[in-house]
Amino acid sequence: MTYVISETLSEYDTPICDTLAETVKKSLRTSDTIGIDRCLQCGACTSSCPAARFTDYNPRTIVKRVMENDISVIEDESIWNCFYCYTCHLRCPRNNSPTQIVQVLKQMAINKGIGLNKLEVLFGYGDAFSEFGVSKIPDLYVGQMEDDLGIRWREFKNNLDSVRSELGLGAVAVKDSGRGEIRAILAGIGFFDRQDLLKHMAKSKSNTVDEKGEIIK
């Protein structure tokens, strides 16, 4: 059985181009004015980066590898350390955005089945959103949070409805008609196709994708 990555989605976040830098510039995730071609390699990004402060993640060299069209950069584990805090984006004197570039690289990695072990633990988020129209902490992490945050937090969560009603607040979930709209939109836009594909890829651990984005089993 062959699965094809939903073209409508991958085409926008990771458009297929001749070079990595072109893909970055054309991606919907990055700003229209992203200054990747103007990068001076000054290192303002790395010197202000919280991930670089504590790990070997280096946004300056990640950008350099993208400029050199080094595709192996998507396999670099360190890109998963970015906090998406946008400090590099603010500090860059040339209007470049390493954090946006890393978002594109991670989408490219995910399309090729790389890093799915870090993604599959978060799938519960998409499921909750499409059911209730609101987000929640992925179920798989609730246990860790209970261990970390203790009995006080668990009791509050158990009493959330009564706490909310004492504060004069209504239901958390979107009302029924709105939920139907949300599901119709996510289906029409291709979100479910992609989520299902990613779930399948994570489950089957089939990591090989050909040039057209088709998984080879």
Partner: protein, 319 residues
């Protein structure tokens, strides 16, 4: 660039936040308490969905899906005649602003999303180009408070509530408010002072600068779950910086940051064998308290992990 004089006080669509709703619901009740006191004209909808920001930064949601959900929420706001999208969360703020900019400037995105709406029979959701402006229709609640800082100060004096003098207060401004679309923030993104200014108007003794003021909270979306040790290292660094500056109360403007500090401060104390004499509030909870709100029935402090009881007693609030 956004000017403080132009911040609206009517037509406010108070954009609900997922993490406010389930972790610190007192932020929402405090915000509406303050809005009511200030005479701000706002609307809250039970049709509005979450912005998908967490999913987007979990690398699960693509830009097109996130933009389509934003377009639906804009239609909810429009239908009710409240077009100034005003979140309590900095990620909702930045996600919605970017979605609006894309819907206005990218014909392919707009027509793709509108055709999905049409095919689903949801014609009333269709987004007309420039029906919202990505600068003039998007605000963070903290900006509304800042624009009313003088009024808040006067009202507090009149109500003769809490004396905050001598309480060492500092601010953690949320990255996604001032680092993503930095041209549209109020003030200097290298040294944000919105929360500081509001806290001063309430008479607090504000510590305007501490070493790691502009460092991220460390939550990093998936990082606290997938990369927990790294996430806590960053938060620990920031807590150390606050301890150094002798800060007793840290004020927030984003529920994700508040989770990271308030929920994980006791975890860090345990894992790093240290102790912090520091409590946390959202700026809305702080202003509500300053204007006489009940700490439990309005501010919702009972949902916090770092207990505030001792702190509140010390500043003369009965709990």
């Amino acid at each position: 660039m956004k000017q403080i004089e132009n911040i609206p006080d009517s037509g406010i669509f108070l954009f609900k936040s997922c993490m406010v709703s389930v972790e610190y619901p007192g932020i929402e009740s405090s915000t509406t308490y303050v809005f009511d006191k200030l005479g701000i004209d706002y609307f809250v909808s039970d049709e509005q969905s979450c912005c998908t920001g967490l999913g987007y930064y979990f690398d699960l949601f693509d830009q097109m899906s996130t933009t389509a959900i934003a377009a639906r929420n804009f239609a909810v706001a429009r239908k009710n005649g409240y077009n100034n999208i005003t979140p309590m969360c900095s990620t909702c703020y930045a996600i919605n602003k970017k979605a609006c900019a894309l819907l206005n400037s990218n014909d392919e995105v707009r027509s793709n999303i509108n055709s999905v709406f049409k095919q689903a029979g949801l014609d009333d959701l269709i987004y007309e180009q420039n029906s919202l402006d990505e600068v003039d229709n998007f605000y963070h609640v903290v900006e509304l408070f800042l624009s009313k800082a003088k009024q808040i100060g006067k009202l507090k004096l009149k109500l003769n509530t809490i004396d905050f003098s001598g309480v060492r207060v500092a601010a953690h401004h949320a990255c996604h408010y001032y680092k993503i679309q930095s041209d549209d923030m109020i003030g200097n993104p290298n040294h944000p002072l919105l929360i500081d200014t509001i806290a001063k108007s309430c008479g607090a003794d504000v510590v305007e600068w501490y070493e790691d003021k502009t460092l991220t909270c460390g939550a990093g979306f998936s990082q606290i779950h997938v990369n927990r040790d790294l996430s806590l290292k960053v938060t620990h660094a920031k807590l150390e910086s606050l301890k150094e500056a002798g800060v007793e109360l840290l004020l927030h403007m984003c529920p994700n940051c508040q989770i990271q500090y308030d929920r994980y401060q006791p975890v860090i104390e345990k894992e790093y064998g240290t102790k912090y004499d520091l409590v946390h509030m959202n700026i809305a909870q702080f202003v509500a308290l300053a204007l006489g709100a009940d700490p439990v029935k309005v501010c919702g402090f009972q949902t916090h992990s770092v207990p505030l009881d001792e702190f509140l007693v010390r500043i003369g609030v009965s709990v």
